[in-house]
Every structure is written in structure tokens, then in C-alpha cells.
């Protein structure tokens, strides 16, 4: 079975949208409890963060355990993170701000956790837009640099979470730790050590690597970016 092909990618999308379905299901059943807006905000925020962390786990898993078939799903996971983050933001804009854009501007300026959330969302939007084949080709090597921006998002999202809670930091710290580990795995000494099982990666046919084509267009170069 081809775990990297189109049906597999569609399945990952479908799986990734299950939390959204669960939310709609809860809404149909009990109207999402006493404070539905808070439920939606927290649910979508948390799933945005979870998808982002899953997305960041793809490359270390490929390198460490040789799970190459995961690689094409990295983009899907990134887009899912952006999808949930957009819903999260939309909830805020519609139900908390009642479309008062002036207040949004004020919040972004005055409230650090919103500033960080907004910057993270803007970054995810930029990465989502430029995640297509066309943009990869157009940007060439700069695409790689740009998409390292995901590391910033992986810092921004847990910081935003931690900053949003009143006193109990236990849960945001769990997410922050996971993000910390995933980022640490990118440090050079670590990638060297765990890079072994991936030694043959560069010699594989391109299509098995990314599923979205060749970003740089240069021959024989690994499409390894982040």
C-alpha cells in the first residue's frame, strides 16, 4: 500500500478534520455547554497547536526512525494547523469582538498574548500560501529559508497559550516542552547523531520524498528543509 500517495493524503486530511467534526457533534448534542464560545476557542486553539507539533514531528521521525512515508503529510499537517488557527481567530473576531476591527488593532497592540497569537497566525498564513509547488519553484532556495519560519510559530503558539491562562501553567508547559524537544532535534549535533537511518534518503526518487515536487530544481540536492 502506498502510504505517501494521494489517497493517503486525503485520509490525513479527513483524520485531521475529525476534531472539527467532534466539535460540531457536541454542538448538535448539547450546544457546547454553558460557554460555547470558550469551548470553540479553546478547542480550535489547541488543535492548531497540536497539528503544528505533529507537523514538526515529521522530519525527526523520518530521520530517526526512517519513516519516510510521513514526509508528504507534513504539508497537510501544516495546512491543518493553519485551518484550526483560522477558525480560532474567526471565533474571536465574530463572538468576542463582534467584528470591531478597531478593537482588534488595539488588542494586537496592547495585549502581548494576542500580539504573539496574531504574529503566529500571520506566519502560518504566509507559510500556507507559499506551500504550493508554484511558490516552491518561484522562491527556489529562499523557500527553504522562509519555511524555517515554522520554528518561530512553534515558539509563538505555546507562548501565546501560556500567556492566555490565569494561573495554572501546567498544560501550556506540557505543550511548550514538546515544542522544545522538537526544536532541539533540529540542532546540528543532534541531527548528526540521529541522521544515520536516513543515510540513503538523498538517493531516493524525488516523488517519494516530498509528494509535492522539487522545490529548488537543482539536481541531486536533497529536498530536506525542516
Amino acid at each position: 500500500m502506498n502510504l505517501a500517495g494521494r489517497p493517503a493524503r486525503v485520509s490525513v486530511w479527513a483524520l485531521g478534520l475529525l476534531p472539527l467534526l467532534a466539535l460540531l457533534w457536541d454542538f448538535a448534542l448539547d450546544g457546547l455547554g454553558p460557554e460555547p464560545v470558550e469551548r470553540i476557542t479553546h478547542h480550535t486553539g489547541k488543535w492548531a497547536l497540536r497539528m503544528l507539533l505533529l507537523c514538526l514531528a515529521v522530519t525527526p521521525l523520518r530521520r530517526g526512525l526512517g519513516w519516510r512515508t510521513l514526509q508528504p503529510h507534513r504539508r497537510t499537517l501544516g495546512l491543518l494547523a493553519f485551518t484550526y488557527a483560522s477558525l480560532h481567530f474567526a471565533t474571536y473576531l465574530v463572538f468576542d469582538l463582534d467584528f470591531r476591527f478597531g478593537e482588534l488593532a488595539e488588542d494586537v497592540q496592547k495585549r502581548p498574548y494576542i500580539t504573539v497569537g496574531f504574529a503566529t497566525l500571520a506566519l502560518l498564513a504566509l507559510l500556507a500560501v507559499t506551500s504550493t509547488r508554484g511558490w516552491m519553484r518561484r522562491l527556489g532556495r529562499r523557500w527553504t529559508k522562509l519555511h524555517r519560519g515554522v520554528y518561530l510559530a512553534a515558539v509563538g503558539a505555546p507562548v501565546h497559550f501560556a500567556w492566555s491562562v490565569k494561573a495554572d501553567l501546567a498544560e501550556p508547559l506540557v505543550y511548550a516542552s514538546v515544542a522544545g524537544v522538537l526544536l532541539a532535534l533540529r540542532l546540528r549535533p543532534l541531527t548528526h547523531r540521529i541522521g544515520r537511518s536516513d543515510a540513503n534518503y538523498a538517493t531516493l526518487p524525488r516523488s517519494t520524498k516530498t509528494g509535492i515536487g522539487n522545490p529548488s530544481g537543482t539536481k541531486g540536492e536533497t529536498t530536506e528543509v525542516w
Binding site: 454553558p34 460557554e35 464560545v37 495585549r111 502581548p112 500567556w163
Partner: protein, 330 residues
Amino acid sequence: MLIRKASDIRSGEITEPELYLRRRDFIRSAALGAGSAAVSAPILTACFADEQAGAETPPRARAVRALGDVRPAPPEYRLDERPTSYEDATTYNNFYELGTDKGDPARNAHKLRTEPWSVVVEGEVGKPGRIALEDLIAAHALEERVYRMRCVEAWSMVIPWVGIPLGDVLRRVEPTSKARFVAFETLLDPEQLPGQRRAILDWPYQEGLRLDEAMHPLSILAVGMYGRTLPGQNGAPLRLVVPWKYGFKGIKSIVRIRLQSRQPDTSWNQSAPREYGFYANVNPEVDHPRWSQARERRIGEWRKRPSLPFNGYADQVAGLYRGMDLRKSF
């Protein structure tokens, strides 16, 4: 009539199975108490049949009893606003001692034992001592008060409390001339209040009022809501209600009341002095550093509504703060 006594609530109005169980529990206690006349025999039979079939009452409802002899709210303590549903008011709670998630307190409330309960009254009073809760209440008539409850997190409810005026209780213990503030403390017992096992706040929870705030007729010590005793998650068996202040001032499960000359330390103020002041009067013009206080979401509604100065009680209480800069003393 907007506010119904619990005994007016009939089967068809509430369909949640859990609530059904809870109501049944209530009906049983009402039947054992004075209110039995209001409950028809067939319902009762059905209830007890269920009981024998082994249906279990949810833990969070076990301790709730009907309160007899409650004086209805006089007009000045009533609102023309629909009370929050009992279900919402008892499942969406901030009581970190029973867990930090809004649903945790209802899930963990059964761990809190409220009988027997006594309160230590001490400090600048003529009659210090430990008072059993029954004795503390017995000297006063229970009154209903329908108040807005505005949480510092920008949500709000309308709750029909049952309680006694705090001022009456304080007068009875005879404050000395040095008494200027009242300090309150929650029970400290990590067995019953498992949230206290983690140092989220500096336990036990402490709150305080200026003596004139405490003596204000709006301030009450609540022992019940919706005609019943308080459930654990709402601060059983005795809690403070000061409707013009943010909800965190309404300290729950009180075991100590101390009158003193200096301003007491208060838990949230100590935890984050920039975010939570001693006064904590509802003020739409002074934002929490992390969010706006201009609007609030009434539980049960999707859109926010404007918040009111002093939570709508400005006419009664604004005078207490004349000459003060409420931006500084927030």
C-alpha cells in the same frame, strides 16, 4: 414570577438526565422536609421506585437540600433579568481548590464535606470564637437575593442566592473601634480540596473587604442558591457574595472571618498584583492587562453585552468610593 422556588420546578422543564437525577434527589429531601405538600404522590412513587432500582444520584447533587423558610427577595434586591439555568450555574465554576477547568469543581465537589462546619470569628471583635454554621445562621432570617455575578474573566450570570446580610453577622460579633477591614479564609484541606495539592495560588484562599463594604446591605453570606443549599462547587456551605465586585472576591467555603485594622492580603492580588486589585470593583473602563473589561458574555448567550460600572449597582455603592481614583485602586 421570574424566580421560582425550587419546589416550583416540574419534570418537563428540565430534560438532562443528570438534572433529572438531581431534581429527584431534591424532591426526596423536599418530601422529607416541609415542602412535601407541593409534590404529587405519583412523582414521589416514581422517584422511590427508581431509587430502589439502584439508580445512582450523581455525587455533586448528594449534599444539596431544599431550604425552608426563605424570605423572597425584596424589590431592591431583585432583577428584571432571567436567572442563569441551575445546570449552567453549577457546572461552570471557578473554584481552583476543586480543579482549574470550569467543569472540575462539579466533578470534584463530592470530596468536600460540609457537615459539620464551623467558622472562627476573631480579631477586633467583642465576641470572638468558633461558631457552628447552624448557630451562625439561626440568628438571622434567610433572604433571597437575585444578583448579577460578573467574573473577572468577562463572563457573567444571574443567580438567586439565599443568604444573610454580612453586616448583620458582623454587628452580632461586635467589631471594636479598631476594626477597619474584614478578612476571610477558605478551608485548607488538600484531602477535601484536592486543588490545594498544587501551589497554583498561595493556599488557603484569602479575601477581604473594607468594613464599610462588608456592612453594605448588598453584601451577603450565602448558604444557598435557587432555593437549595449551595452545592460544593459553588462554595458550600458558606460563601461571600459582593455583587458589585468581580467574582473572585466572593470567597467560598469560608472557615475564618477576622476583623482587623490593616488591609488584608488577598490571594489573586498576591498572585498577580498588576492584574487583580484589592478592590476589584466591576469597572468596564479599567481593562485587565490581558483583556478588555468593557463587555461580558452572559452565560447562555453567544454575543457579548456591555458591562456596567459596579456591575449595575453604582447607585447603591458608588458613594463608598467617593474621592478615590478607581484606576489606581482597581
